[in-house]
């Protein structure tokens, strides 16, 4: 279960290394494996061709970097929204007046489901440069999430996304990844 940036990063590294291992196995060693024994009777393997194994691994690797940025940002967004809701709840007293209760519900709904760009904007007073750094990641994530259609925004690698999003969470003094 991926719930933190660190867990998302570990997933990325595991997926990358596993795919590379399979590609290498398919590309170089498949025919040398001991097919005469149990391996050759295992339905998970016996029908697989070396080229299939390598090609599937390449398909995974082709998109893995962008998927990592997508995943990191999803985890980040959920964490920031959750934190904002908690902060608002902690700072406001118990509300009784129906108008205030309704306003509070609207605010919570905006934080939970509204534009994440707006949520981030609220933190500009904390560190405007860092918010802009995160927005660059957000723009690239959006491009990936919408099928990489149209002109590519500034390229963001997984390492840069991980670093920026982690620094933002640290700046918020959020708990370190679980």
């Amino acid at each position: 279960m991926i719930g933190t940036l660190d867990e998302a990063w570990r997933w990325y590294e595991a997926a990358r290394e596993t795919s590379r291992t399979m590609a290498r196995l398919g590309g170089k060693y498949w025919d040398e494996m001991p097919w005469g024994g149990a391996l050759g009777r295992d339905d998970s393997f016996r029908l697989l061709e070396a080229t299939q194994v390598e090609e599937r691994a390449r398909q995974v690797l082709d998109d893995l970097e962008d998927l990592c940025v997508l995943l990191l940002f999803s985890v980040f967004e959920a964490t920031v929204r959750e934190r904002a809701l908690t902060d608002v709840s902690d700072e406001l007293p118990t509300l009784r007046h129906p108008a205030l209760v309704q306003a509070m519900e609207t605010l919570n709904d905006t934080i939970s489901h509204g534009s994440f760009y707006r949520v981030l904007e609220a933190y500009k007073g904390l560190d405007a440069d860092l918010v802009e750094e995160v927005n660059q990641v957000r723009r690239y994530r959006n491009w990936v999430a919408h099928g990489r259609r149209g002109a590519q925004p500034d390229n963001v690698g997984p390492d840069v996304a991980y670093d920026r999003l982690r620094r933002f969470l640290e700046r918020l003094a959020l708990p370190k990844p679980r």
Partner: protein, 156 residues
């Protein structure tokens, strides 16, 4: 000037076309310099011409640059090959080498489709250099020795 030409000029101005074209041409020229450098190093390292060096063209479209075609390079021996693939002119992040005042101005990957080395173009005080990131995102200047070790890894 016809009304159509006026329309095109107005649209080009609105779209910042001249600056986009400058950035695009500048990037295409930078990648061309890089691939020529790589070809030059490989010709020195491989005087017998064992390696096949084949230009490969990529279609790209970047914000601020528009659509463009750019050449990379395929380096092969027998059925094994690695590609020099231009990824983007506009890259988020900071250079790991060259210190303060340096900025990133492009990314090119060298990959066999399984492993990948990321080359990042670094500009500082009007000079251009390339850094290479390894699997663990450690950076080093890109030079002939580094190119040879990358190809030994990718073509192994």
């Amino acid at each position: 000037m016809t009304s159509f030409q006026e329309f095109l000029h107005r649209k080009a101005e609105e779209q910042g076309q001249s600056s986009a074209r400058e950035r695009r041409d500048e990037w295409i020229a930078a990648v061309d310099r890089l691939t020529r450098q790589i070809e030059g190093w490989l010709r020195e390292s491989d005087p017998e011409g064992v390696l096949d060096l084949i230009p490969v063209t990529f279609d790209k479209a970047e914000k601020g640059l528009g659509p463009y075609k750019i050449d990379g390079l395929q380096v092969g021996v027998g059925e094994l090959s690695a590609r020099v693939v231009p990824v983007a002119r506009n890259v988020v992040g900071s250079p790991r080498i060259m210190g303060d005042g340096a900025r990133l101005a492009g990314r090119v990957d060298i990959t066999d489709g399984i492993k990948k080395y990321v080359l990042r173009r670094v500009l500082k005080d009007g000079s251009e250099t390339w850094e290479v990131l390894d699997d663990h995102f450690g950076a080093a200047p890109f030079d002939r020795d580094r190119l040879e070790s990358i190809l030994q890894d990718l073509l192994a």
